[in-house]
Amino acid sequence: MEDRTTLGGLDPELIDQLATRRQALRGIGRWGAGLALASVPLALAATAKDAFGQTLPQQIVDVLNFALVLEELEAEFYTLGVNANGLIPAADRAIFTTLRDHEVAHRNFLRNALGGAAVAKPTFDFTGGNGNNNGPFNPFGNYAQFLVLSQGFEDLGVRAYKGQAGNLISNDTVLTAALTIHSVEARHASEVRRLRGEKAGQKEQAPYKGWITQAQVDAAAQALAPIYGAGNPAATFPSEANTTQAGLNLVGIEGLTAAMASEAFDEPLDRQTVLNIAGPFIAG
């Protein structure tokens, strides 16, 4: 498949709408420092209504803001990581500049789409210390820990988007856009998981496969275990060890093992469980 531009694959109409918004944003810079910042959200809000031809329903706004927070988190995480001197080995840099660029693009898209309804960027604490910057992680001083959090954020992001897809069913444009982000997060997760496997000398082996084997987490990443667990309610948001789809237990069919059956399907996660897991990294 040929390389695509950042916006490749998006509905052309949506791209036009976003282009209009970006022009509006560029115009703001020329107004200088005297521009009252309060007027900016109003301008964006007007564009938001124009862009989708209607005001987005609150449920959809909520989903997009939920996604926006996660994308802000990832964008900042990778930006800081790429900029941390000596953190990422030269051989791996192309991977993480790619992740950074994608998350920034996702963040920009969501912020633009929401316009005046977008929440402010939270302050993040990547030590996992609830804003006290004294948490257990040192991702920008320790590459192994950076990789652990990267895997966690990506796998969490996949589950988070998947858990919200049903809430977007009333808007084809937003649903499709969210899915085109969701699948890219899954690509990210696959890449980082496999990279960690390479570092551990266990290429393409559980628990370091690009896909999730029975909610397994390696010893160094035990803090990530909740990401692979059940949500609430568990029947709707099962753990990644789940092997039953729509009431059908796949184990034993055509020789499928529990490991294979669990790997073949990713599971959604409910919003609150996602926020509970991400909470320590969000200061406010």
């Binding site: 695509r4 950042t6 069913i169 896909w211």
Partner: protein
């Protein structure tokens, strides 16, 4: 195409329709979560046509105005992928062509696509639909002993699968089925990233764009057609 096991008694009773147009799709297996599908012709119902010309290659018609049409579309793609990886892994040259690490990846991909195929094979009847025919794959254009050709074909199929699911989602009317499709598409994306990484390690090629494609069925079928003997037509979609 491997033989399909008949379902064990009991386990699938909840999925199989007893009679008529009613069906049950269980979510999580809890009795309280059983979704009863009644009068489902407008959503799940309607059978996709299998017109067999009698000449050995049939014409498959998928109606996207029903969720069954979309599910059969997914089933077709999973049949193709499962057949491809089964052929790759089953080839006499498999171990000589791929490293041990790569063999693990390709075996996993086969297992996952088989799981997807088998799931749809049971789920579609369970929601009141008729399965499309077993498709006849054509991989004559791929030399299975050529690592590059196999991986590039795998990349095509996986990227295509991602684009197909992303593009088909808007046609699904039932939120449960949408979530089920969502559970599969992210795995296809994981696959795609892994294959692309085998082809271009330590690059950004695992994810060529910040937004994946969302392809209309016509765009997908244009790429898939050379690998399937039957012709596939989609109605009520772009």
């Amino acid at each position: 195409m491997s033989e399909r096991n008949e379902a064990e008694g009991g386990i699938l009773d909840g999925l199989r329709r007893p009679t008529g147009r009613r069906g049950f799709l269980k979510i999580g297996g809890a009795a309280a979560a059983v979704l009863a599908i009644t009068a489902c012709d407008d959503v799940f119902g309607g059978d996709d046509d299998d017109d067999d010309d009698g000449g050995g290659s049939g014409n498959v018609i998928l109606d996207f105005s029903t969720d069954v049409g979309v599910l059969n579309y997914a089933y077709a793609l999973e049949q193709l992928e499962a057949a491809f990886y089964t052929a790759v892994v089953g080839s006499a040259t498999f171990a000589a062509t791929f490293s041990a690490d790569e063999q693990r990846v390709l075996r996993d991909l086969r297992d996952h696509e088989v799981a997807h195929r088998e799931f749809f094979e049971r789920a579609i009847p369970a929601v009141g639909g008729t399965l499309i025919a077993n498709l006849t794959p054509d991989f004559s254009s791929v030399t299975l002993s050529n690592r590059q050709q196999v991986l590039q074909t795998a990349r095509t199929f996986e990227d295509l699968g991602v684009g197909a699911y992303n593009g088909a989602a808007k046609y699904l009317q039932d939120a449960t089925l949408l979530t089920l499709a969502g559970k599969i598409v992210s795995v296809e994306a994981r696959h795609a990233a892994a294959i692309r990484d085998l082809l271009s390690p330590k690059t950004g090629q695992f994810a060529p764009a910040a937004f994946d494609p969302a392809l209309e069925p016509s765009q997908v079928l244009v790429q898939a057609v050379s690998f399937i003997e039957e012709s596939i037509t989609v109605r009520n979609a772009s």
